[in-house]
Symmetry: C2
Subunit: 305 residues, 2 copies
């Protein structure tokens, strides 16, 4: 139980997890909570109970506590569909949010929209709120944001707007190939080989098609010459990130790049971009999403007052 | 129960299945049998019982029936390790086979070796016996064999030898991305769109790195413009096969190519190679592996006589 009654609740509701922050109106975090009730495992009727299970104890009768959500919770299969905003646009805020119709009088739940791009076709849900958080901390940022993850996003930011973006399934492919394919026998769960990573990035960037042949070579080298499993892991990562960087070249070439993510996931991107002499910096802000949600709450409370 | 006692047994023992043919000495098939006891699910002690369960009823006391096996059964985790032959070499035959030490006196089991290549590192187990089968039917074949599958093999054949080969995980990636990744919501289990496939092949061949970005576009187009699931399936296949063809260009460019495989798996390769004006033919010989095993038996029986 928290000591104070929160003024509002911030919610990052993704495919695999539900994270909430019990918040004071001034932006102070009273308490963090988390459950595994991600959007992927819930039917439409399951969202409200999942949220109430996590925060029901702090709700009070007679008051609808603002709950501001971002992420896959706003998808067609989510709690309520929050229509996409379209690039170019500023990260959408509370004015574009969808108010969830709920039978629970103790909450007023808003879902922030994702962003879409018509050509090339692309979508994001959740990252736009991270971008809002980055711009809240650094309103003048102009350049490229790289948000590595299961689905890495590259976004061109200018004059406070998301101009264009592109999604790469690099993280998901790394997990599928390393854990589910025949390469699972060759690739370690952890460990690294920086030189092998660098060489694989360079190979994939100069001849991206070779990634197709380079994958099975990892298995063959394990069998024939005892390739170390952590070297195989670094090479697999390097091949996939190299192919991504080759495709994302229009984003990072000649532009300042800021990688947003925890060290473990940001480090390979940082190394690969530095090897290309890109102008790159790195911020590891675990609560960047919260910053974006705080911005949305501020607009809500201003609107209310 | 078979009508006749077989003279020998042909065995194609892969990762996921065990296929046997009860054979007469003249090459006639008495009976086909199959079980799901693939190498992937067996420990070393499990192979002999799995085989006896399938064929024990045809064995006779007082005689060791020749059993000739190919495939992953000869891997390090298999029944017995059959060391690789090295390219350049003819498809290995019975003289290079490993005789399994077995407590069962009613069988004499041989495992044909796989083939390895030092640089670029590559291995095959099972396909060498398919190649033996192809060369048995057409001893003068000189050119490129494409054996599409979970792990597609390209092999350069000249003067009866495998000169070099290369493995692509295209089939496995197609299955992982289409069934396990976020694209599973976009990609149909069946159906096709030939124009979408052709366009995706052309895109991947001209700009292979774009495959990295093109994958998530399938998901985005589903969400934004209702991309048909069978079109998504054809595009996913086209992107992956296009990248493979870009990497395998040294194999197929200016060389006669023969695709060996059932229609469903050969057809996209045929279409993609024809679009590149490659000189390509297709043989759908389901029992090509059996032909290779029959060749090995012939050498064994000649050696015995």
């Amino acid at each position: 139980m928290t000591q104070h009654t929160p003024d509002w609740i911030a919610v990052d509701w993704g495919t695999s997890a539900l994270r909430v922050w019990l918040m004071r109106g001034d932006g102070e975090v009273l308490e963090r909570r988390r459950s595994e009730s991600g959007m992927g495992g819930l039917s439409r009727d399951g969202f409200e109970p999942a949220l109430l299970e996590l925060v029901g104890d702090v709700l009070r009768d007679g008051r609808a506590l603002p709950v501001i959500c971002c992420g896959m919770v706003g998808s067609r299969q989510g709690w309520a569909e929050a229509p996409y905003a379209s690039v170019p646009c500023a990260p959408p805020g509370i004015a574009q949010a969808t108010l969830v119709r709920s039978a629970e009088p103790r909450i007023a739940a808003y879902i922030l929209p994702g962003i879409k791009q018509a050509a090339p076709a692309d979508v994001m849900r959740g990252e736009e709120t991270q971008i809002a958080g980055i711009l809240a901390a650094d309103p003048g940022f102009d350049g490229i944001l790289c948000l590595p993850g299961t689905h890495t996003k590259w976004a061109h930011i200018s004059a406070g707007e998301i101009v264009s973006f592109r999604t790469f399934m690099t993280g998901e492919m790394f997990a599928l190939l390393g854990e589910q394919s025949v390469l699972r026998h060759s690739v370690a769960d952890a460990g690294w080989d920086a030189a092998a990573f660098d060489a694989a990035v360079a190979e994939a960037m100069s001849r991206p098609e070779r990634v197709a042949a380079g994958l099975f070579s990892l298995r063959a080298e394990t069998l024939l010459s005892g390739l170390a499993a952590q070297t195989a892991r670094a090479r697999l990562s390097g091949l996939l990130i190299g192919m991504e960087l080759a495709a994302a070249r229009p984003y990072w070439l000649g532009q300042p790049v800021r990688i947003v993510g925890a060290d473990a996931i940001a480090a390979p991107y940082l190394a690969a971009l530095r090897a290309q002499a890109a102008e790159v910096s790195c911020v590891a802000d675990e609560e960047i999403t919260l910053r974006g949600l705080i911005g949305a709450y501020a607009a809500l409370s201003e609107g209310v007052e």
